[in-house]
């Protein structure tokens, strides 16, 4: 097996000029792109620009290395593991301090190595040979006022060859013992409501046995989703999170179930004296609803930005959570929620609502959501969430 090794190359400002190209200027441009990437605007374009700039920096860096210009040191092959570890444990800090970038203009060397030292200390990696080499190399570059490029030298032969003495039959046994569902579905003809309930129950059973499973909400009727989720949220049972997936394969945050106690009619008495606010689920989906609604809960433009269904679910959840938080300070609300469809947004909304109801469960009731579904030419009332 081959692997990439990392070689650190430090270059003075003069050495950074190759064929009329100033490497430092490329580095500073790339740093600006990094700052823009964090904002997430036109991300794909920014990523493309970043790749082009990094590609040029790496190309000229390799040329300088082949000419043995500047100072260089080869790190051990585990250096990439250190970076992956840091990214896993301190994602935000790593991005902010640019620790996974493969170049460092001289202006940023001091900050870079300072943050690197502090994070590797937190993970007790400071004695690692590569870490030591990098720290010493960066300190020396800092002293000289040089910029650093971290170059991948690919197709180096692995020094840590994996143990090949694997018993294939033993491995196959472990593989076949992996927990995966071996049951088949009961084929009785059932309503969509019962079928989805069955599917959820099956996932709960498999999850309790440690088998990886998730409920797929794609292409399901949105009224079925809301009604069945209501049953699972308000039933008694051991509170748990239901794994959620979509047909595009994306995995959303799990959905809390068995976690809200239904309020008594008595407890809801005061709140129910208030008028119902007609709220459409999402703008620009059914313009004929516009005149009927007081307001829309989601702006279509804000929700339809995710690329995968799970991302859309996540955006809808965050937006709804934000709005519920704001509503806490604005008094009590009786919402008539007119659903317009779009499954990930429906699931995201009810996830946020369920969490909100859990949070408010010890307070007097201040929120009630009644879903309305457009079925057979008129609106039908769903089960009340409060």
């Amino acid at each position: 097996m081959s692997e990439s090794r990392i070689t650190l190359l430090a270059l003075s400002d003069e050495a950074c000029v190759v064929d009329k190209v100033d490497l430092r200027s490329l580095m500073l441009k790339a740093v600006r792109v990094e700052q823009r990437m964090v904002k997430g605007v036109n991300l794909e374009d920014e990523q493309r620009r970043y790749h082009i700039l990094c590609d040029r920096i790496e190309f000229y860096g390799h040329r300088k290395l082949s000419e043995r210009a500047g100072n260089f040191v080869e790190l051990e092959s585990d250096y990439l593991e250190v970076i992956k570890n840091l990214s896993k444990h301190f994602q935000e800090e790593v991005i902010e301090a640019r620790l996974a970038a493969d170049f460092c203009p001289r202006e940023l060397v001091e900050q870079h190595i300072g943050r690197f030292e502090s994070l590797v200390n937190k993970l007790n990696l400071s004695r690692d040979e590569s870490v030591q080499k990098k720290i010493n190399f960066y300190h020396s570059a800092l002293k000289s006022g040089w910029s650093v490029i971290e170059l991948h030298v690919s197709w180096s032969q692995s020094r840590n060859e994996a143990d090949r003495s694997v018993d294939f039959d033993e491995l196959k046994r472990s593989f076949l013992a992996l927990k995966v569902a071996d049951e088949i579905t009961n084929m009785a003809d059932r309503s969509p409501f019962l079928s989805l309930k069955d599917q959820i129950q099956k996932v709960i059973n498999q999850d309790s046995k440690g088998i990886s499973a998730a409920v797929s909400f794609s292409d399901l009727r949105h009224d079925v989703i809301a009604e069945v989720l209501h049953d699972f949220v308000f039933s008694s049972g051991r509170p748990m999170y239901l794994p959620v997936t979509y047909a595009d394969g994306s995995k959303a945050s799990p959905f809390p179930i068995y976690c809200v106690k239904p309020r008594s009619v008595e407890a809801m008495k005061v709140l129910r004296t208030e008028p119902i606010l007609k709220v459409g689920q999402m703008s620009a989906r059914h313009p004929e609803m516009d005149s009927e609604m007081k307001v829309y809960f989601f702006r279509n433009q804000e929700i339809s930005i995710g690329r995968s269904a799970a991302e859309i679910d996540g955006v809808a959840y965050e937006k709804a959570r934000e709005l519920f938080l704001k509503m806490r300070t604005e008094g009590s609300f009786r919402i008539g929620y007119y659903q317009t469809g779009f499954q990930p947004a429906v699931v995201g909304f009810y996830r946020a609502l369920t969490e909100e109801l859990v949070t408010r469960s010890k307070m007097l009731p201040t929120i009630e959501v009644t879903p309305y579904y457009f079925l057979g030419g008129s609106y039908k009332t769903g089960k009340i969430w409060c």
């Binding site: 190309f59 197709w155 995966v180 071996d182 599917q199 990886s212 409920v215 292409d219």
Partner: protein, 392 residues
């Protein structure tokens, strides 16, 4: 027992599904949703392998097969129709986000039981399961369970034993699911030899296959990109060698089924591709030289998708590996494959001396028409596409 009457009836049902599809979707220029019945006809030229009508049963989250007719044409290898059908059914089940359970509808090879018609898993698929050493437990209920589907998918993808071993290790370690690897290959994102090069030749194949790295984390992303770039360059050579050009009336024509007979192997230690040929061929991209290959002569190629500056920097290491490759595969034609970026240095002193050193080892310098920029573009496309594919 499949009767002529059954086959004709199922062909009629398939034709009905096609007509419905035409009127509801094709003529309206609409695409059906996963949960709507869709007909598929799997053919090569005028030979039909399988007729299928499927849908994602959304409330039960399994793949429902309404029509399943399979042929086993004698001109092709055993169980070819069932291979085509199952390859598609499993990939479709994965794509639709199902649990991977496949359910055959009530009209499929039905039998009378207690006065009721009951379906079964088609006999050809059972034959295929026997060939793949997978035991199907629910044949007469017409179901293939997720556990059985996993084993059949692994068998159908056709990985070498070493690659299967690595996939199993990664699965046992919880790093990726075998279904995803199989889908990436059977869905055409990576060819089988490319996937094997990735799995055996890179330090973290799971990161590449899961498209796990964020392009903003350059070190991590570049590591995956380099692995993907190498596999793509190897794939370019695979396709060049496989491509058969038939001369008809003095003109070169290509045919979808006609490929050169080649067996692929991969040397994971040196990251080299080993080709064994069933016919006489010439080594491509050796600068106009005529280097012949035959069933007695293998081709061993060190694949190095480097930029010109990387070639210069890693020349010593590549020469060392080339020497090792020549020693390991004595009697084979040995080469090192670089991208077109080689052109940038071929006339320099170091370029000329490097070429002499390569020849001194008894190897050939092969220059692909693809440049690193083109390879990177393709590798990035594949990583990006993989990001949108189901992850479990």
């Amino acid at each position: 027992m499949i009767t002529q009457e059954y086959i004709l009836k199922e062909i009629d049902r398939f034709a009905e599904a096609v007509m419905k599809y035409d009127s509801e979707y094709r003529r309206k220029n609409k695409l059906p949703k996963n949960h709507e019945l869709r007909p598929y006809r799997w053919c090569s030229r005028d030979i039909v392998f399988s007729l299928l009508v499927v849908k994602h049963e959304r409330y039960g989250n399994y793949l429902y097969v309404d029509v399943c007719l399979i042929a086993n044409p004698s001109q092709y290898y055993e169980n070819s129709g069932a291979r085509v059908a199952m390859g598609f059914l499993l990939s479709e089940a994965y794509k639709c986000g199902t649990t991977m359970e496949i359910v055959f509808g009530k009209n499929i090879e039905p039998r009378l039981e207690n006065g009721q018609l009951k379906p079964r898993v088609p006999a050809y698929i059972c034959d295929l399961a026997i060939e793949l050493e997978v035991s199907l437990k629910h044949v007469f209920e017409g179901h293939i369970s997720p556990f059985e589907a996993r084993q059949m998918y692994m068998g159908l993808a056709g990985f070498s034993k070493t690659t299967q071993e690595k996939i199993m290790k990664l699965s046992v370690g919880g790093k990726l699911t075998p279904e995803r690897v199989c889908f990436l290959v059977m869905g055409g994102l990576w060819s089988l030899p490319e996937a094997e090069a990735l799995i055996l030749g890179s330090a973290h194949p799971e990161d590449v296959l899961m498209s796990a790295s964020d392009p903003a984390l350059r070190h991590v992303y570049l590591d995956d990109l380099l692995a993907a770039r190498g596999a793509v360059l190897g794939g370019v050579l695979d396709r060049k060698l496989l491509k058969k050009e038939l001369v008809v009336n003095g003109q070169i024509v290509e045919s979808e089924d006609e490929e050169n007979e080649i067996a692929f192997d991969f040397d994971e230690e040196l990251y080299a591709k080993i080709y064994k040929f069933g016919e006489r061929l010439e080594v491509p991209w050796v600068g106009g030289k005529k280097v012949e290959l035959s069933p007695d002569i293998n081709l061993a190629v060190l694949v190095r998708s480097r930029t010109s500056s990387e070639i210069l920097e890693s020349a010593d290491s590549d020469l060392e590996h080339l020497g090792m490759l020549a020693g390991k595969y004595k009697g084979s034609v040995v080469g090192v494959l670089y991208p077109r970026d080689w052109e940038e240095i071929q006339q320099t002193d170091r370029g000329l001396s490097l070429k002499r050193e390569i020849e001194a080892v008894g190897a050939h310098l092969m220059m692909s028409p693809e440049s690193v920029a083109g390879l990177d573009k393709e590798a990035m496309r594949r990583l990006e596409t993989g990001r949108m594919v189901r992850h479990e």
